[in-house]
Amino acid sequence: MSESASLGAHPGGRALRPGSGPAGRPAPRTRARADRATRTRKLGVRTVALGYLALLLVAPVAMIFYRTFEHGLAPVWDAVSAPNAVHAFWLSIEIVAIAVPLNTAFGVGMALLLERGRFRGKALLGMLIDLPFAISPVVVGLALVLVYGKTGWFGNWLAGHGIQIIFSVPGMVIATAVVSLPFVARETAPVLRELGTDAEQAAATLGAGPWQTFWRVTLPAIRWGVVYGVVLTTARALGEFGAVSIVSGRIEGQTQTLPLYVQDRFENFDITGAYASAVVLALLALGTLVAMNLLTRRTRSRTAV
């Protein structure tokens, strides 16, 4: 339609005859030029975006991998199988395994409260949840020491009951939970809002109780928001340095997580050890991302949502 119109508009242009190729005609040539311009622009945007990523992200990470395996696998294996490295690895996993489920339950609960609840001070609660994003992790660490440390508010009482939080694993779990607190709630809340309450009300009229409605209707509908929040939380928790660094006391082989161990090796001029454990850390994070991607893709194609 538009083709014949533009042909007709051209002086001397004849009505489009079947079989007459559009090649060489003015209108298609203009369109081709426009296409080329769009293509060039798209290519430009892509180049800039990819270049930026390459410079900031891919090159450094690639460098670490390169440096790590520069002298083959044997030194790397020795470095990552050192007792302190192994301990740091399992400690990181342990902390993530406690902090992430805690934050997931808390985050989903908070999102429900913020999106479904009716109460005063909701806006304030929303701001409070975001606070860990705004405060530097170092400050979080210091604040935790002030509250739970030996000279802190609860410190004496806790010590009296034989509970040590600061310079031990519980404190590190708390610090990790605090800095990764907002992710699940922030990823889940918009999905809940988008979902609306119709389906939940329908479930209620069909006789479902609040728990049944949550497990069978609400949670399946918001699962991608939750999964994404969990992945972000996991990545953040794995990589946490500042708050954990202060709260842990960085006791070798006792309260050293992987990021702390990397820093420790680096400061002690054990470059291979630092790089090798950094690679382990990076692979853990990468594994989380890939796992999510696979999970999402498989389930999505199955339910065709």
Partner: protein
């Protein structure tokens, strides 16, 4: 199961959604709540279902006072305006949901779902997901889901609102027949008077949170209690402050009887199939329209610009 609503009021902030409303729906009846948007009809339906709590008043289903009972214990089937499908479940699981949460045996659920899908003519679509259904199919799935638990009453909120005209007409007819088949007490909300007249046995006309009138479609049409009901149900000409005339009551006279009527000028003739709409300007300057049949229009050779005589019966006048 009969439904009774006694003196129910509901406010949303400053807005009065329902103001001292009383209705009674007989066991097995098919009733329409009809009114413009904001008239409180949906709020009333949601209060009956337990999805909204009234500020005052009582709701009774059968012999049971349910005012304070949560929605899930009321045993009502509710069909939402946008169907509220469970998108992550198949049609089968959607329809079977009410039975699943009641922990019925799987074989029983399967049998009941198959029966219902037959009833709503969705056989063969059990394994589809809601995203793969059309609007009309979703509507029927939502209905099957609501009926699966054998509710005491069936409530539908603007059941045909989101469908296109043809599907709508089809589903109206079908809902009527379905009701004849299963005879569950049914209330549906609509803003479409034609839909209410066509489907319902009883209509409750609502306006600004109050009941204007309740009765059979015929009662409402023939003896409207007030201005609002008269102008909301059926076409109407407004002649003065509160005096109304139905367009089909205006008689266009053949030229031979011209001397006996009021003079009028035809401004426009609109052919709507069987019905022809004639827009007239009366001698005193008032605009009215008359509804005549195709045959009459042809016989009298009605056309724009024609001057002729019409007979106006006494209008219906309401006390202000």
């Amino acid at each position: 199961m009969a439904i009774e609503v006694h003196n129910v009021s509901k406010r949303f902030g400053e807005f009065v959604a329902l103001d001292d409303v009383c209705i009674r729906v007989n066991d097995g009846a098919l009733t329409a709540l009809l009114g413009p948007s904001g008239s409180g009809k949906s709020t009333l339906l949601r209060i009956i279902a337990g999805l909204e709590t009234p500020d005052s008043g009582e709701v009774q289903i059968g012999e049971e006072l349910v005012t304070d009972a949560p929605a899930r214990t009321r045993d009502v089937g509710f069909v939402f305006q946008h169907y509220a499908p469970f998108k992550h479940m198949t049609v089968h699981d959607n329809v079977g949901f009410g039975l699943t949460v009641r922990r019925r045996p799987r074989a029983e659920i399967r049998a009941r779902v198959a029966e219902l899908l037959g009833l709503v003519r969705l056989e063969g679509l059990a394994d589809r997901y809601p995203s793969q259904l059309s609007g009309g199919q979703l509507q029927r799935m939502a209905l099957a889901r609501a009926l699966a638990v054998q509710p005491r009453v069936l409530l539908l909120d603007e059941p045909f609102g989101a469908l296109d005209a043809q599907v709508r007409a089809e589903l109206r007819e079908w809902l009527r027949r379905l009701h004849e088949e299963i005879h569950v007490t049914t209330i549906f909300v609509t803003h479409d008077q034609e839909e209410a007249m066509e489907v319902a046995e009883q209509i409750v006309v609502m306006n600004r949170g109050r009941i204007e009138q309740a009765g059979t479609p015929r009662e409402l049409y023939e003896s409207p209690r007030n201005e609002f009901v008269m102008s909301f149900i059926g076409p109407v000409n407004r002649l003065g402050e509160a005096s109304f005339l139905r367009p089909h009551d205006i008689q266009i006279l053949p030229s031979a009887e011209g001397g006996q009527g009021t003079e009028a000028l035809i401004e426009r003739v609109v052919h709507l199939g069987f019905e022809v709409r004639v827009e007239l300007k009366l001698g005193d300057g008032r605009d009215v329209w008359a509804q005549v049949t195709r045959e009459t229009a042809a016989e009298l050779e009605l056309h724009e610009g024609q001057i002729l005589a019409v007979r106006l019966p006494a209008p219906r006048v309401f006390a202000a």
